[in-house]
């Protein structure tokens, strides 16, 4: 009786484990084989794409095919990066497939350099020809990225820069414009008066700190507004929720919050989505339309900004392939055509801008699905 139950348990556990492992392996074969049939489909699609691309822009016919490109976001599992990177959202891997390259997304599960570096090293070991990286830290990745460039691997950054160890940076919008427009949007909602706070991501993230720098500068234009604190949610939903709640408790006169991270703004919106705070503490920041639809509908958030992350990934992929093929060197003034996005010119500091930030509000949010 007791022993029979124990025996049954001892037999059931390995069976359950095998079932779980086969479920896991089927998802891995799904993710690994998604690049395999894509590359065979891409080789037939590339011939048709190449002919149409060749007719639209002469420079793209000099692009190499069959390159192994690794897209390395800050972390896996963030919907912003999944949209930016994956094939079915028209992101980086879609562009790579269209160009006849093999694209794989890889990274760690925490948005820290310690988690991202092994993924970069593995990509190098697997024979990468190009790396498209959203840097978790401006300098910590440099030994690894510099080693990659010494091996002849093209390194470009997108979304978040590592300024001293990449050939090009694909920026979603002018850093200054993102920072200043965030403050301008909130100031307009608050009638230029009130105490505000910022819920950021990781304290080391290059893009966050750059935007916050411009936010602080822009705040000086509004003497009746003040910055109470900058708190860090580490792009983790639980931590972002906790730091937002902490802000509300510590600053009872808080009137507004800016959260320039899609994870942070979603968490803050959930915290503010109560009768106590809705309309009293206003929220804006950078968010994905899908995660914000509910909060715009019930008035927790009036306006927020973003750009199309899929376009950012798409542009980054084109830039990386152009560089890897030797069609451009990333110097300022060079131009190339990024497929459906049209022509782009490289600006100072080897940076390309995708375009101005887009303001979402109740009037237009339902037109978007990401």
């Amino acid at each position: 009786m007791k022993s029979r139950r124990a025996l049954a348990l001892a037999l059931a556990l390995p069976v359950a484990a095998t079932a779980a492992l086969s479920a896991c392996s089927s998802s891995t074969s799904g993710t690994s084989s998604s690049s395999a049939p894509a590359s065979t489909a891409a080789s037939s699609a590339a011939s048709t794409a190449a002919s149409s691309a060749a007719s639209s822009a002469a420079s793209s016919s000099s692009l190499k095919t069959g390159l192994k490109v690794f897209v390395i976001p800050k972390q896996l599992g963030q919907s912003y990066f999944t949209t930016a990177d994956s094939a079915n959202s028209g992101g980086a891997i879609a562009a790579l497939n269209a160009l006849g390259e093999t694209g794989t997304e890889t990274s760690g599960t925490a948005a820290t350099p310690a988690a991202q570096i092994p993924a970069i090293q593995a990509a190098i070991a697997k024979g990468a020809n190009a790396l498209i990286v959203s840097a978790t830290d401006p300098t910590a990745l440099c030994p690894t990225l510099n080693a990659a460039m010494k091996k002849g691997i093209t390194v470009v950054t997108y979304d978040s820069d590592a300024p001293t160890c990449r050939s090009m940076f694909i920026n979603q919008a002018s850093t200054a414009q993102i920072g200043t427009s965030e403050v301008d949007v909130l100031a307009k909602e608050l009638n230029d008066t009130g105490q505000i706070a910022i819920v950021s991501a990781a304290s080391s993230a290059t893009n966050q700190n750059a935007w916050i720098g411009y936010m602080k500068q822009e705040l000086k234009k509004f003497p009746k507004m003040s910055l109470a604190a900058v708190v860090y949610g580490n792009d983790d939903a639980t931590t972002s929720t906790q730091v937002t709640q902490g802000l509300l408790e510590q600053y009872p006169n808080l009137k507004g919050i800016i959260s320039p991270t899609t994870v942070g703004i979603a968490a803050a919106a959930a915290v503010l989505d109560t009768p106590k705070y809705r309309g009293k503490v206003l929220l804006t920041g950078l968010g994905t339309p899908d995660s914000m639809k509910k909060f715009v509908a019930d008035g927790t958030v009036q306006e927020f900004e973003l750009w199309n992350p899929a376009d950012l990934g798409y542009l980054a992929a084109y830039a990386a392939v152009e560089l890897a093929s030797g069609a451009i060197t990333g110097a300022a003034g060079q131009t190339f055509t990024a497929g459906k996005l049209g022509p782009f010119t490289v600006g100072t500091d080897n940076t390309i801008l995708l375009g101005p930030p887009f303001v979402f509000n109740s009037a237009n949010i339902n037109n978007f699905n990401f």
């Binding site: 022993s3 124990a6 025996l7 001892a10 484990a17 896991c24 998802s27 891995t28 993710t31 690994s32 690049s35 896996l76 599992g77 794989t104 890889t106 990274s107 760690g108 599960t109 925490a110 820290t112 350099p113 310690a114 570096i117 092994p118 993924a119 090293q121 593995a122 070991a125 697997k126 830290d137 401006p138 300098t139 910590a140 440099c142 030994p143 080693a147 990781a202 304290s203 080391s204 900058v230 860090y232 580490n234």
Partner: protein, 334 residues
């Protein structure tokens, strides 16, 4: 009076079974890894493995002693983070590096001493104490550094994240070398000195050890202080490797350290374990994580592997006892 050889043989007979199993697993990982990817056994991959796992491996050494003595130390990653934070703060204030090393070592010893005192003098359970100091030391790291990042350490030091030890064809990281040296040192202390034997005795029964004249409280405090010092060393290595001192350095690493120590066959209840097992467990852990990274395994799920290994390492020794229980003749059935 039994000779050292007899004692080793007796200890070896009991311990050999788990360590032999581990050695087989290491071979399986090597074979499986190289089958999964031709880059697995290359020099640069060994280097990368050493970089990613060096500090974790170093922290498993004092943890082994602490666990064998019957306690646990979950604050190891926070002590790493706190020393990293102190290193960054002092460097940004212009302190000379040798003075910084002394300060960081002193902080590590103090942190370990606090752990030890809370566990031995106030007689609080070490699980609760070190969970508390896990949060406390991480908080101190945050206060020391604030939200800033210090990332301008001299290349003479940060090169340990770029270059290998000279003379090894660039394949052995400094942290691997330090781990090997420390493992030999800790192994000798654990297996061949009276100090080591008293650690086993304490783990088997603290009261019996006390009555046998072993100064349990003092030794446990010393073990915690050693843990603090080694974690401070790990913090320095970690900071230089990433050229970054930030408050969340090392966040979560204590789980990997505990997983490796338990996988090594060190009993969570104390009194059992060996240094060979720890070295083999480090190889298994690093090898599996790296092999999965080199294949296209869904990286979000590598935690499943670490967790499964941990569960297996706790389940399997008890399963042996279970099966013996099942096959016992039913004469004692009530």
């Amino acid at each position: 009076m039994s000779s050292l050889a007899d004692r080793l043989r007796a200890a070896g007979r009991g311990a050999a079974r788990w360590e032999t199993g581990l050695a087989i697993v290491v071979l399986a990982v090597i074979i499986g890894g190289s089958a999964a990817s031709p880059q697995f056994l290359t020099g640069s991959n060994v280097f990368d493995m050493g970089l990613s796992n060096g500090e974790i491996a170093i922290m498993t050494l004092p943890m082994t002693l602490v666990v064998i003595s019957g306690e646990i130390d979950l604050s190891v990653a926070s002590m790493l983070g706190m020393s990293s934070a102190l290193l960054g703060v002092l460097w940004s204030h212009g302190w000379p590096m040798p003075a910084i090393f002394v300060a960081v070592a002193a902080l590590g010893l103090a942190a370990g001493a606090l752990n030890g005192l809370l566990v031995t003098r106030l007689r609080l359970p070490s699980l609760a104490v070190t969970i508390g100091t896990l949060a406390l030391y991480r908080g101190i790291a945050t206060i020391l550094l604030g939200p800033t990042t210090v990332a301008n350490f001299p290349t003479a030091y940060t090169n340990l994240g770029v270059n290998g030890v000279p003379g090894t064809n660039g394949d052995v990281t400094y942290s691997t070398l330090i781990f090997v040296v420390l493992a030999i040192g800790f192994g000798v202390v654990l297996h061949a000195t009276p100090f080591g034997r008293s650690i086993y005795a304490m783990g088997a029964s603290a009261e019996a050890a006390q009555f046998a004249g072993i100064r349990v409280k003092r030794i446990k405090t010393v073990l915690y202080m050693i843990s603090g010092l080694i974690c401070a060393l790990a913090g320095v290595l970690y900071t230089f490797r990433l050229n970054t001192s930030v408050e969340n350095n090392g966040l979560g690493l204590e789980l990997d350290v505990v997983a490796i120590v338990l996988l090594a066959g060190v009993s969570i209840f104390g009194g059992k374990g060996s240094m060979i097992g720890v070295v083999l467990a480090v190889l298994v852990f690093a090898g599996i994580q790296n092999a999965l990274l080199l294949t296209n395994f869904n990286q979000e799920a590598t935690g499943i592997v670490t967790g499964a290994l941990l569960l297996a390492s706790v389940f399997v020794p008890n399963a042996a006892r279970w099966i013996r229980h099942l096959t016992r003749p039913r004469t004692q059935k009530a």
